[in-house]
């Protein structure tokens, strides 16, 4: 299973000027690989992530998953995201007001899995990320790191092949960041998932197998000697 972005460009017109958010970018992510997309704010990282997730349509180029173009609209797009993709956001959007064990299986329910089974699988995923003792807690009763782990657990319930994480440690202290990175690392290297992390945190980027640096929308170089992003 491979995600390929081929000569992808996305331009916006802001105040009469053209902003090249993503400019002729090509990249490939294999299963079992953890890739960091590193760059300063406004470099186009999130736009590239949206394109990779099939949530934004590139002006040019194509997004290929497993040899097929990623569907961008309609039920096929919904299905592709449900079955293939797991997304972890900087702000973990958990279902507020209900205990974790009731919402962890929601992705499976969206796939049509029976509720009782979906919840069991959800609980299993929560245990996998170390939240077995927090099943009855509501999101507002969790720390930010625990919330992020719950979001990862929810993303994992459908066993997605591709995991896209948008600044997953953006709000976390270094210790909690480390826990989240460990988790993502295990997903890639122990469970064989393709993981793409968008970050401007050099420490997180260091943990990746490959680091792609994005500057002004262009994938500049493979970079191992990172300097802190502004």
């Amino acid at each position: 299973m491979t995600l390929r972005l081929e000569h992808v460009s996305r331009h916006f017109t802001v105040g009469g000027e053209t902003v090249r958010a993503v400019d002729d970018v090509s990249l490939q992510i294999e299963r079992g690989e953890l890739i960091a997309l590193y760059g300063p704010s406004g470099s186009g990282k999130s736009t590239l992530l949206l394109i990779a997730a099939g949530l934004d349509v590139p002006d040019r180029g194509s997004v290929i998953w497993d040899g097929e173009p990623v569907p961008l609209r309609g039920r096929a797009a919904d299905r592709w995201r449900r079955e293939t993709l797991g997304v972890v956001l900087q702000q973990p959007q958990l279902v507020e007001g209900v205990p974790l064990h009731r919402s962890a299986g929601l992705r499976l329910e969206a796939r049509g899995v029976r509720r009782s089974k979906a919840r069991l699988d959800g609980v299993r995923a929560l245990r996998d990320v170390g939240l077995g003792n927090r099943l009855d807690h509501r999101p507002d009763q969790l720390s930010i790191g625990q919330r992020q782990r719950a979001a990862i657990a929810r993303a994992l319930t459908t066993d997605p092949e591709l995991i896209l994480a948008d600044e997953p440690t953006g709000n976390l202290d270094s210790h909690t960041s480390g826990e989240i990175v460990d988790l993502l690392d295990r997903l890639a290297h122990e469970r064989g998932r393709a993981v793409l992390i968008v970050t401007h945190d050099p420490q997180l980027a260091h943990r990746a197998d490959r680091v792609l640096r994005l500057d002004d929308g262009r994938l500049a170089e493979l970079d191992t000697d990172l300097t802190p992003a502004p």
């Binding site: 949530l55 919904d78 959007q93 007001g97 009731r102 992705r107 509720r115």
Partner: protein, 862 residues
Amino acid sequence: MSDESLPRKIERAERSVWIRPATLLTLYAGRLRRQWLQELLAAAGIATGVMLVFGVLAANTSIKTSAREVATGIAGRAQLQLRGIGAEGFDARIVSRVRAAPGVQAAAAVLQTHATLRYGGRQVGIDLVGLDDAYTRLGGVTSRPAMFGLFRLPGIYLSANAGDALGIRVGEAPSRPVTVAVRGRARQIPVIGVLGRSEIGALASTLISSTSLLRAQRLSGLPGRATRILVVASPGQDDRAHESIEQIARAEGLQASTVDDELRALAVATAPNDQSTTLFAAIAAIVGLLLTGMAMLLTVPERRRELARMRIVAGFTARQAAQVLLSQALLLGLFASGVGVIAGYLIARSSAQAPPGYLAFAFPLGSGVDVQAWMVVAAIVGGTVCTCIAAATPLADLQAGRALNAIFGTASHPGQSISTAVRWRLALAAALLVLAASAMVALWPATTLLAVGALIFATLLAMPAIVAGVLAVADQLERVDRAPPLVIPVGALRAAPVRSLALAATCAVAVTGALTIGGARDDLLHGLDQSEYYGTADIWVSQQDDALGLEPFRPPAGIEAIPGVAAVRRYTGGLLDIGDRRAWVVAHPVEDSMMVPPSQVQEGNYATANARLRTGGWVTVSDRIAEEQGGIAPGGTITLPTPTGRHTYRVAAITTNLGWGPGAVAMSAADYARDWASDAPTALEVDVRPGAAPARVANEIRTGLGPATGLEVKTTPQAIADAAGIVSDGLARLRQISTLLLIAAAAAIAVAMIATIRDRRPQLAAYAIEGWSRAALWRALMAETAMILLAGCFAGVAAGTYGHYLGGRWLERTTSFPAPWSWSPGAVLPVCALLAGVALLVTAVPGWFAAQPSGCLAIERR
């Protein structure tokens, strides 16, 4: 010098406790740029609440104010008047004696009678007013140049409102021939002019037609008669003039009074209606102010964060942060309340186009809206204060340490959780409040408004428990594998309890108010069921538009001979001033199966009363009249003024007011004919032969009367329907208030839901990224709205049913209108369906668009 002053200025500014108004405006402009849609939606909600408050206030005061303008317009400088008793009037030559009486400077005779005008397929009931030449000296409307043709030109003038009803506009070519039907006769007469507000002031909005006294006498078949003499006293001789006309009144069997007595009589006539509408307008106003507060409450989570940012990031002092918050609420409240006042004015104007039909029979009434300064001030101040109170809740965060919650506690809406213990305590307080209110009403019925207010407040207190109950049911439902996925809506409602409660409470108070008002209105409609009253005959013949049977006419000959007619009887009715009460006199012929409706007898035995009325010399009177005449009981006596002098009758029973606010007197038609010295009926009751169809016989009678008749022939069901229409007219304001209340609440809920949905787009975007389909997310949003509505409707139906009971009993006790308690699901369901339907429908569209959010919303940095 400037080098020294600048640091000092900065230091002073930093130490300053207050922020300059210009800075506050700049800060608010910035907020408007950032949160323009949220502010707009909050403003819409506030404006909706204020619209309700103002619309109700304006509509509620219009009738009396317009009547005052009309009375002044007609009477001019006249302070005194002589009135005839009965519709036949009195000898107009008495005016010469009045003019010659000591203390009188000027006097003019007036003949005022109800008439129907027809033109080009349209018809309208009007007051035909005939004025003598001396009227110009009174300084009323006829002294104006536009009316100079009144005494010279052969025709009639129409008020703009009457002209409009006939399709003849102000300024259109005169001399159009209209048909005037008065006292059973129809004639054609040209219209000289249609007079607008610039020519006759407030009279333009009445349904009135004026002509010379002589022409009015000819048209109405009352030659040489007048119904009223308006009198101007010589300067400083008011008492003497009053004494003079009192003497003439006694000698001629007339009633002497001041012109203001007309207004007092109107005040008495409208009092029951005013009392009821004031109660219900107050309820609507409470609901409106609550809607205002709720709309602002929905913006509170965001304002809390803003407050925290001000304190922590921008370094504002607590007082300065509070200043910013409250100044923004003040500006928003003032602006939105202003918009609400304009919208309320438009609504009140549209609902006040026609005065209640039942009052128009007894008083010349105007229409239109009288906006008084206090209403504008009350609506704007009320709306703004409620906005500021709701906006002030985040000020609690100014306590040390809590500001951090609002910024960093982004998991939920911090500080909003309501514990189970608090919920129970609030529910208990609600129950105690209802008990206390019930006890209060039982002991002091006059405190009903307070009790209904307490009931609404108790509903608010009970809302946390009711919403929790609905969510608990949803939780149970969710356990079922095949049940719809409710975890997203349930979670959303639990995560923002204040928002959920505000929305559900909005729905609850609206349903409570609408059911209280609508239920009491339905009770009145049932109580005023006209089938008993009209059930004494198969067919009724009366003057056109005279559904109450008040206008006498010369009975046409030959109806008895029409095939199918078994019997024709003469019914008489009229208005009689008893003190300040313009009472309705109902005089059935003794051959009728019933002399007074049995369901309306309050004291005394119906069968006995019926028999006594037939024997003559007996009357029944309304409870209020009986009270005012010294507490008369069945068997007692009452003295009434009549055209032949004062007569004493024995009281057979005490009744309700028979649906006529000032009260009613029932007697036999024979007594009426003798004491009023008139055998002219105001309606003919026709019985049909067995086997004959009343509708067919009614057609035969119409044919027999010919096209020139001014009479109208109705079968009993038609007469009942027309009378019910008039009763319904009289209660139109209650219907308008309850409908307006529901629409306002539905709009407020919809606006609030739109704001809520918009606020949640990032989370919806996250769900969409995870593969939730648009339809599934839309269903979740609709389920969330439905759960709010369910909780609100449940609480509203419970409180509204009790409010209906309290309101109905209060109406019965204080207004004397018959209002038997009636409740049916058929009355409750439309209220809930209207509210829920509008709210769901309005939420559905933005919900559909919000259910497919851009993924950027979830990914974008906050």
